[in-house]
Symmetry: C2
Subunit: 343 residues, 2 copies
DNA sequence: CTGTTAGCGCTTTCAG
DNA sequence: CTGAAAGCGCTAACAG
């Protein structure tokens, strides 16, 4: 509110003076590595710190120690449930390990991502986690690798969440296989005529899911007609417009639409409904991810479940773990709901 | 992956040496406040920095300057679309101002919130934004105020998002009035017999919304029967179980259920549907917030729209703005959709 | 176990 | 405009 009588933060120095001990002792009592200071002193210091409402200056600690307790997390869009669920997992796991997470949003721009990685490096985080799928249009990819490699050489850890494309630790999401299993399951349910709504072709996640789905169909000698594959933004609105496009092309030869993500599926569902094509009846829909809301839409969505929060937690574990495993793969399971009734 | 040949980060010192200038000059060229260093030198320094892939150590800058570029954001649950939308706004605005946001999750626990505020103070952030509603069960409230006041006295800025209860800058969400307008609108649509699903009674947001709704009804000489007000968790599952409770009590005398948040409304919707009570037909439902997904559920939800991202951005603006306005109030608008057909 | 004293990487006087 | 040097708050040898 009004400029308060601004005072400067209380420092360790103040605490030491107040407690009548040396700076070093105060430091040891407050943060030093355990049992090293006389109990009487320790208590005096603790009391003084409490009395003064002292908070250690993390930046100062960082420069003195040459290390921070920071985890930097990059996501494409924090309002997207896919990323916010992953972020929740990263944050939970970080807090359990006494780490603080700083967050940045790339907006799905590789340039912005590179820029942010550069900026975040300045924080000297212990860990950098990059969530969000890679693009194969790899103009700046090399620059990113350079930057991240330098970061690791200075003792940082890098973890990617998505596909194991880059030479860093990775929590691999089994997009291909998950989509393959989904396709198989849908064929078992009686579906034969498919369409797909996916993201841009250079988006690895989207591409892998489509490829996996196609592979699953191929195992049953089925396929998706090329003109039944529409591409758009990897967002809710992209799903919506993709569905609109399919509708305009004509739905005669389609009984199931596979959307490359639940978020897209949700958009597609709305588009179909608005067009009077009842999802789960006139047309079946399946997605991928199992974001929380797909249980609550109508009809509940058939999808491939990947444990989003768990993935976030795994990413941190991989980062701070001792074992130098380059990758962990997260399994996925098909969840059949009413959006794909047997036919 | 494998421990790489770990080198230490390049420092300003290295850059200065490489450029053949003094530390001070290098500092000025790289970060100093504009036009103060000879163009030739400046270029040499910039070149050296680029060649060495130098990144300033933000912690060191922070201790030297006695100030950071950090915004600390506390939310109850980042996977909740209400908070993730607000966070998106905070992050976007922060990045535009060259600030980095660090994020912590309280899990709706006041104790945890206090603990986090304490820890985050150590970062010496420029700004602390606390999103998520206050509880009136204010045991630790005083401790929180003390902590935040100390923070402000050291030059930090505190912004709350929710209700203007505490003596800090606040982005006020107009819960009462929004709910009042909603009630009026619903009465106009022909509804007369109401029920409500809300959070715990000490949750201010929930309480204000219910009070506002009741006030709106009262203006038309209507009210909610006390036994038609059920309380549960302020989450999707809380909404679900609240609806279950209403169903068990009997829906005979209810034609519209007001849920204190969209997230709860979504859960309630699913519960009704599972029980064979068709939302938008056998029973009407209205929520509050206008989170993105309510357009995509069936039926689309009538709600009170508050501009979530905008609120996040406003919070940051309020924090770094010159004007010492204590509060800005965000207006809300009623959005009628198919979950409340005229009757 | 305690205190003294160098730093950590960077900014910022303060003289040249 | 430039460089030398004194901090910023804290940790970590290093002697007592």
């Amino acid at each position: 509110m009004d400029q308060p009588p601004r005072t400067s933060p209380v420092t360790l120095h103040d605490v030491a003076r107040e407690a009548g001990v040396s700076l070093a002792t105060a430091s040891r009592a407050l943060n030093g590595s355990e049992r090293k200071v006389n109990e009487a002193y320790r208590e005096k210091v603790l009391a003084a710190a409490a009395r003064l409402n002292y908070t250690p200056n993390l930046s100062a600690q960082a420069v003195a120690k040459g290390a921070t307790n920071t985890v930097a997390l990059l996501v494409a869009d924090i309002a997207d449930p896919y990323f916010s669920s992953i972020a929740a997992g990263v944050i939970r796991a970080s807090e359990q390990s006494g780490l603080v997470v700083t967050m940045a949003v790339t907006g799905r721009s590789p340039d912005r991502e590179l820029e942010l990685v550069r900026a975040l490096r300045g924080q000297r985080p212990r860990v950098m986690i990059l969530a969000g799928s890679r693009s194969s249009a790899s103009d700046g990819e090399q620059a990113l690798i350079t930057e991240l490699t330098a970061f690791e050489q200075n003792g940082g850890r890098v973890v990617f969440i998505s596909q194991n494309e880059l030479p860093f630790r990775t929590v691999v999401i089994d997009n291909t296989d998950g989509a393959r299993m989904l396709a198989t399951r849908l064929v078992e349910l009686g579906y034969r005529r498919f369409a797909a709504i996916t993201g841009a072709d250079d988006l690895l996640t989207s591409r892998d899911r489509l490829a996996g789905f196609a592979a699953g169909l191929a195992e049953h000698d089925l396929s998706i007609r090329p003109d039944h594959i529409v591409r758009s933004e990897f967002t809710r609105d992209g799903g919506f417009s993709g569905a609109v496009q399919l509708i305009e092309q004509g739905l005669d030869d389609i009984d199931l639409v596979f959307a490359a993500s639940d978020v897209m599926a949700v958009g597609a569902l709305s588009a179909f409904r608005e067009a009077g094509v009842v999802p789960g009846d006139a047309i079946a829909i399946a997605g991928f991810d199992d974001i929380p809301t797909v249980r609550d839409i109508t009809p509940p969505l058939t999808t491939v479940r990947i444990p989003l929060e768990e993935i976030g937690a795994q990413a941190l574990a991989l980062a701070i773990g001792e074992d130098t495993d380059a990758a962990v793969t997260i399994g996925s399971t098909v969840v059949v709901r009413e959006s794909t009734p047997p036919r």
